[in-house]
């Protein structure tokens, strides 16, 4: 009896102590599994009972807005048939390209609830707009439209549609599809408030003048290419959508016809989605689109874990794999597949807009309102050490707030570097001379100590090094790791001292108003998280925003960028101006590997990052595939191959 009791007691206690750990882990793990199963099929049969078909209202135009009733006769029709082509004439059509996504999408709709997952990107890039942007020159190039013209009011734009353009179901694309796009995006039935607002507030009018000509009026005057970017939305197939109160459910798994090269083919729930090449695609022989989008099928498999996906890749079940992370590039991408050249490694430097990453100082804080303190901090941050140690020299120092916008970049700015002498000088000027017992500088009992709040736990490594190095300059950084949304909220409410993070950059030109205009300094929930207010800067920002003259805008952007640097409110940290990938030998790309605006090398879709038409350049060579697999079986080697393309590398 005693023995039995003894055992029970011990088992019980051990169980409790050890299982606490496991059970906590399980509690957290479970959420993800259930979420995945949520992608349950929504039947369409049972919802037909109370279906109310809705007729969308005609385009409502506010007072002061509106396009002319007749197409203006003085329009100057423009096009772009002079910029160079960038696809390879050697490309071979055919084959299946196999890639992966981490979760199965919750819907195949482009808008509405749950439609912002990663798979939506594939659908979006196949929903062509009237124009696209050249990946080298960054100028507009024809897409669905062949020509465009700008209205005299500075905010309208007219497009002439390519009469050959077809939806993937064979229906022609007409002006009416663009009018429908605005009606659709403004409708309540799609349950997409952001789009509802954008297409009402930003897009003021749309009008079809004939079957292949239409006009759009936006809210503000902008330079020409910016007009395309802001007002050049894609069409929606009127013949496909029946709008009703059940639209969201009804169209959840009915993919819309596309105007791009691929449309959704076979869908195997939770396993994979196929994108099939549209037969006789209308743009097959169109300049800028020929010799691209070569695989006839793209199979996107669901593989939840990146390490599992890596194993699939090594077994040649995936054609390519991203290697941007240092441990993948340096440590994991090794072995016979690489040594024998069955898999090739690629490193392509690009010139995409860089996220504005760094430390943002809240100038509402008394110490941080002093310029000398801010400059001192900048000189006390040892980014170089972080780069050269844990980042393995792979990242680069971001020299300034915004970079990667071509001519808009102010390349004369160099960042403040780690320099204990300069840091001491600036701190001394601010009155910080003495050090306390812990080695931190003090001024009248006030310690030179700041809280750095951030939301990405994997950045702790970097901050820990900065913190230790800053101590040498007598600066204390207290790290405050918050949950991502809490960190964002904190900086939006301007309750932070120093915020570590970055703004994603996109588009054609840098943005200053949201980050540095004094209007946004006083209010919370704005992107001016440094609370920076400078009347001189305000004036230039407004001039920059209002100007539609490219040369003037470029000059203003240079001056403004310099002012940001001089203010010292933001210490730029890192940039990753490249992509690194591995691909099996049979995946071929043009000789130039990619374009300056390629976000990834082995991208099958029209855009590989942002707005530039830089993707879809690869092809699959069946002959080389057979040869490679044969060599792999026999253990023959082609010799390891690592291709580094740094033609587009920005020299600092």
């Amino acid at each position: 009896m005693k023995l039995i009791k003894h055992f029970r007691m011990r088992d019980c206690r051990l169980c409790i102590t050890l299982s606490i750990f496991v059970s906590i882990l399980l509690m957290v793990g479970c959420g993800q599994v259930e979420e995945a199963i949520d992608a349950e099929e929504v039947g369409t049969s049972e919802i037909d009972d109370d279906l109310e078909v809705v007729e969308l209202p005609p385009i409502a135009v506010a007072e002061g807005d509106g396009l002319p009733d007749q197409l203006p006769s003085d329009l100057e029709w423009l096009t772009n048939d002079s910029d160079p082509e960038f696809a390879s004439v050697d490309a071979i059509q055919g084959g299946t390209f196999r890639t992966t996504m981490s979760t199965f999408p919750l819907t195949l709709r482009l808008v509405g609830p749950d439609s912002n997952g990663s798979f939506t990107g594939y659908l979006r890039y196949n929903n062509f707009g009237p124009v696209s942007f050249h990946p080298y020159t960054r100028r507009a190039i024809p897409a669905i439209a062949t020509h465009w013209a700008f209205g005299s009011d500075g905010r309208s734009i007219y497009y002439r549609i390519n009469p050959n353009a077809r939806w993937s179901d064979g229906e022609p694309v007409t002006s009416d599809d663009f009018v429908f796009a605005v009606q659709f995006m403004r409708s309540e039935q799609i349950v997409a408030p952001w789009y509802n607002n954008y297409y009402t507030d930003r897009i003021r009018d749309v009008k079809a003048y004939d079957e292949y000509t239409y006009g759009v009026q936006g809210a503000d005057a902008k330079p020409m290419d910016e007009m395309h970017y802001n007002y050049g939305f894609g069409p929606k197939p009127r013949h496909f959508h029946v709008m009703s109160n059940k639209w969201v459910e009804q169209y959840n798994w009915s993919p819309e016809p596309t105007t791009g090269p691929y449309h959704v083919g076979e869908v195997s729930k939770r396993k994979y989605i196929d994108l099939d090449r549209t037969e006789n695609w209308w743009a097959n022989e169109v300049r800028f689109y020929r010799n691209r989008f070569n695989p006839t099928r793209i199979r996107i498999k669901v593989i939840r874990d990146v390490n599992t996906a890596w194993q699939h890749f090594l077994k040649a079940e995936l054609d390519t794999f991203g290697l941007v992370l240092p441990d993948f590039w340096h440590d994991k991408a090794q072995g016979e597949e690489f040594d024998n050249g069955y898999v090739r490694k690629f490193w392509l430097y690009n010139q995409l807009p860089q996220p504005s990453q760094g430390m943002y100082m809240n100038t509402n804080e008394s110490m941080l309102s002093e310029r000398d303190v801010r400059y001192g901090i900048a000189h006390a941050l040892n980014f170089e050490r972080v780069i050269n140690t844990i980042l393995r020299g792979d990242y680069e120092r971001l020299p300034t707030f915004q970079l990667g916008f071509g001519d808009y970049d102010n390349t004369s700015i160099s960042p403040r570097t780690y320099d204990l002498v300069k840091a001491a000088e600036y701190f001394e000027r601010a009155g910080f001379i003495e050090r306390d017992d812990t080695g931190i500088l003090v001024r009248d009992g006030e310690r030179l100590s700041f809280v750095v709040s951030y939301g990405q736990s994997h950045h702790t490594d970097r901050l820990v090094i900065l913190k230790e190095e800053a101590k040498k300059a007598g600066l204390e950084l207290e790290l405050q790791l918050l949950d991502g949304s809490a960190a964002f909220k904190k900086q939006q409410e301007k309750k932070h001292q120093i915020s570590w993070g970055g703004w994603a950059s996109q588009g054609l030109s840098p943005r200053f108003w949201e980050h540095f205009h004094s209007d946004n300094a006083k209010r919370t929930q704005t992107n001016n998280i440094t609370a920076w207010a400078d009347p001189a800067m305000d004036e230039l920002i407004m001039q920059f925003r209002g100007s539609s003259d490219l040369a003037e805008r470029i000059e203003l952007a240079h001056v403004l960028e310099q002012m940001v640097h001089d203010s010292g409110v933001m210490v730029p940290s890192f940039q990753v101006p490249y992509t690194r990938e591995a691909a099996w030998r049979w995946v071929r790309v043009p000789k130039h590997i990619g374009t300056p605006t390629s976000g990834s090398i082995f991208n099958t879709q029209a855009n590989s990052a942002g707005i530039f038409s830089s993707g879809g350049l690869l092809w699959i060579d069946a002959g080389i595939k057979e040869e490679t697999l044969e060599a792999k079986r026999n253990g023959e080697s082609f010799g390891a191959e690592t291709i580094i393309q740094n033609d587009y590398r920005t020299k600092i």
Partner: protein
Amino acid sequence: MSVLNLNPQTIKQLKRFRSIKRGYWSAILLAVLLALCLVAELLVNSRALMVSYEGEWYFPTYAAMNPGTTFGLDYAYETNYRELRQTFEEEDEGNWVLMPPVPYNAFENDLRIGSYPPAPPSFEDQHYLGTDTTGRDIVARLVYGFRIAIAFSGLLLTFNYVAGIIIGCAMGYFGGAFDLLFQRVIEIWSNIPFLYVIMIVASVVVPSFLTLVIVMAALGWMQLTWNMRTSTYKEKGREYVSAAQALGAGNVRIIGSHILPNTIAVIVTFVPFSIASGITFLTALDYLGFGLPPPTPSWGELLSQGTNQLQAPWIVTSVVVAMVIVLLMVTYVGEAIREAFDPKQFTYYE
């Protein structure tokens, strides 16, 4: 023994405890570890134990920071004593530095150009268990992490036991409506999912040592109440309690001087297990990222680093081995105490 004037029952229990070798030695080892932990600065530290410079002696361990200029170096920040030792050795002018056995603290990044962290164990660099992903010494992280975990556990235990004993005793002693009410309160309170509360707290404020203790105590005090309630209930029915009541003793006196000493066995047997669960809780929370803020040394954080860096097995091995050893020892002690205090030791069922 006689000096302490312990009652014969306790002496018997102590003897019994000593006779259980596994538990006894675990207790001694744990006590030694705890004692060493308290003076960890003397054993694992980047500050020297002693510096002899130009005839003067310095003891930097617990003193204010000495800028490099103190020792004739050209910087105003804290002296790097490891470098200083090397400099003195090279100069050979009679100056010397005595470093602790592990010459690193838990925060500094020992990063070398040309090699990338984590670095494998190396006796030459005195990283006996290697470094973590930012080049911090794992021994230092383990030692200081242990100290924090034990302190956390001890504090949590105190809060939980004070609340648990008071409320549990009161429930058992007074019974009736008070007992019923608290039973329901505890049942409801126990259903609050503690992890979600921690997650919510962590999303609003950065959890500090004290906030974590308070949140966990607020959600963990119920455990002991049930046991205390039962034991008190049982004791209350005994004649000595009636006798004390008949003599006119007050409730506080009866509970404090008569009932509590007789339920002490229940409390004591739970202590080691509570300590073990405190350590695992903190480790689990740190592992999930809801624990103490970085760069606080912690076992959970090391564990999460280790599981993400399986190509650097020394990280995960070190922390798992350390954890298993400590938890095993605590469990052995718990077992031995339970057995020593078991009143049924000489009872046989026939």
